[in-house]
């Protein structure tokens, strides 16, 4: 090929090159790369949270695995990211609420255990050992179960010693007062007699 032919060929090819198209393609590739990098960061962030939400994200995860188009891939990862976070926050809130409820329950059970201990000590003059529940225990459900069993046992022991007046006595010790009415007055009198026999001073207050 002669030199002048070569020069003509290069000039011809140069005319054919669409500079704007190349620039656009390059921009697109760069954008895709950036989106992929972002997707990787998102996946890193939700890596552990995805384990908790396995069932809920199963479908979209399968879609991601079967896609090779970078644009679709990053869109799907964005959806996965939002879904996982929503699911995780919801589960976390549910867990927090459950924990709060269990701790509240433990607090109530401990209060009741202390109440029974108080009845034994201050009414019956007996010292009993109780196991106070730990609201920081790993298995709170088991702790609650232990507390309920313990309470049941103590209640039964008290029932034998106090009799039918026990619920009224629990109410009295719990709130430090009971309302006397036609329905319960004979039971109250019996309880007052029982307490006086145990050497406990009772004061009576008229509410009107």
């Amino acid at each position: 090929m002669m030199l002048n032919e070569l020069v003509n060929l290069v000039a011809e090819k140069r005319k054919e090159i669409n500079k704007e198209k190349i620039e656009k393609d390059l921009r697109d590739i760069l954008n895709q790369l950036s989106a992929m990098r972002e997707s990787i960061e998102k996946l890193k962030e939700i890596k552990l949270k995805m384990i908790l939400c396995d069932e809920e994200i199963k479908e979209i995860r399968d879609d991601i695995l079967s896609t090779s188009d970078p644009t679709t891939l990053s869109k799907l990862v964005s959806v996965l990211y939002t879904k996982t976070l929503d699911c995780y926050n919801r589960k976390e809130e549910e867990r927090r609420k459950k924990l709060e409820e269990e701790r509240k329950k433990i607090e109530e059970l401990n209060k009741r255990l202390m109440l029974y201990k108080k009845i034994f000590k201050n009414v019956l003059g007996e010292n009993i050992d109780i196991y106070l529940l730990n609201d920081q225990a790993e298995d709170l459900e088991r702790e609650i179960q232990k507390g309920e069993e313990q309470l049941k046992g103590l209640y039964e022991k008290l029932k034998v010693k106090v009799g039918d007046k026990l619920d009224l006595l629990i109410q009295l010790i719990y709130s430090n007062e009971i309302e006397v009415n036609k329905e319960n007055y004979s039971e109250v009198i019996e309880l007052v007699k029982f307490l006086i026999d145990k050497g406990i001073t009772i004061s009576i207050r008229l509410s009107k």
Partner: protein
């Protein structure tokens, strides 16, 4: 090896159970506190202008080979409330030689006696409105016949001067004895542990910076009623010999400060402890803190006395003096 681990695990679990049961007992006592004739209160009273001093003592025993040289000193630090003023402390010292065939315990006992005699002497000369002393008023809190004369003197001075004893390390189960008398079951628990836990429980509705006290425990009632706890036998003998009213309260300057026992012969003075108090310090008051640091024998100080003694004993005064 696994047997050992199992054994340790078993003991740890037992201790955990015990601590849990004790926590319930302490919560019950805290709940019942208003029904008992000791009270838990915040210390709110203010104090007028006054002078106060703190008395503390220190001791050092040095083995000379054939005998012990014991050194003791007592320090009194005085302050005027509301004024920042430096008043030189009073320091007195005494020395004694004890033959070591009595054994180490006897040597220690002697050095404590020497130190307490010096402290008592400073107490006798103290003329501040308020006097704090480091340790219990009945000190040593045990009795033997050799202390007869000392107890007689100290008791008469204490009755006259009415000092406030600040007991940092308390172990006598005074509160436990009182609570057992009220029907609580508290065996195998240390006084310091019970008191700290109880005050922590009672403090739940009190601001952290508030000073609180739990008392007064009347020693006469403690020793009069019910069966004595083994650790109180010797203290009771000392108390009877001391022949003075005695009341104790537990005091905590703030939630981050240690709990101490306050011993007095009349149920007053807590507000003065508070007014001189510094947070977080086991000596409680600034005066006691200074007295404590001055009363400690530094090794160099003790060794220079030993050197002086050895030189003089060897009648080699010249070689001793040549060191200076």
């Amino acid at each position: 090896m696994s047997d050992v681990i199992e054994k340790i695990k078993e003991i740890a679990l037992e201790e955990k159970e015990k601590a849990n049961k004790l926590r319930a007992d302490i919560m019950l006592i805290a709940d019942d506190i208003k029904k008992l004739d000791i009270s838990f209160e915040t210390v709110n009273g203010s104090v007028v202008e006054h002078t106060a001093c703190a008395i503390d003592g220190g001791k050092y025993e040095f083995d000379l080979g054939d005998s012990y040289l014991i050194m003791a000193k007592a320090v009194s630090v005085t302050g005027k409330y509301g004024e920042v003023k430096t008043i030189p402390p009073t320091v007195i010292r005494d020395f004694k030689i004890i033959n070591d065939y009595y054994g180490e315990d006897e040597v220690k006992k002697n050095s404590i006696s020497l130190m307490l005699s010096l402290e008592t002497s400073l107490l006798n000369n103290a003329n501040s409105d308020i006097i704090f002393i480091d340790g219990p008023l009945i000190d040593p809190p045990v009795y033997d016949e050799s202390l007869d004369e000392y107890f007689l003197i100290r008791s008469s001075i204490v009755k006259r001067k009415k000092p406030i004893g600040i007991v940092k390390r308390f172990s006598h189960r005074l509160l436990i004895k009182y609570l057992i008398g009220q029907g609580y079951e508290l065996t195998n628990v240390r006084e310091s542990y019970l008191v700290t836990m109880l005050i922590t429980e009672l403090r739940k509705n009190v601001k952290n910076k508030e000073s609180v006290f739990l008392g007064w425990i009347d020693w006469n009632k403690i020793f009069k009623e019910g069966e004595l706890l083994s650790d109180l036998n010797s203290l009771e003998k000392a108390y009877r010999k001391f022949n003075s009213p005695m009341y104790s309260a537990y005091f905590q300057l703030s939630a981050i400060s240690p709990v101490v026992r306050i011993d007095v012969i009349t149920q007053e003075g807590i507000e003065y402890v508070k007014s001189w108090g510094i947070e977080g310090e086991k000596e409680v008051t600034i005066l006691n803190k200074i007295a404590d640091s001055l009363a400690k024998f530094k090794e160099e100080e003790a060794k220079s006395y030993v050197a002086l003694f050895q030189t003089l004993r060897g009648t080699d005064l010249q070689s001793y003096l040549s060191k200076f």
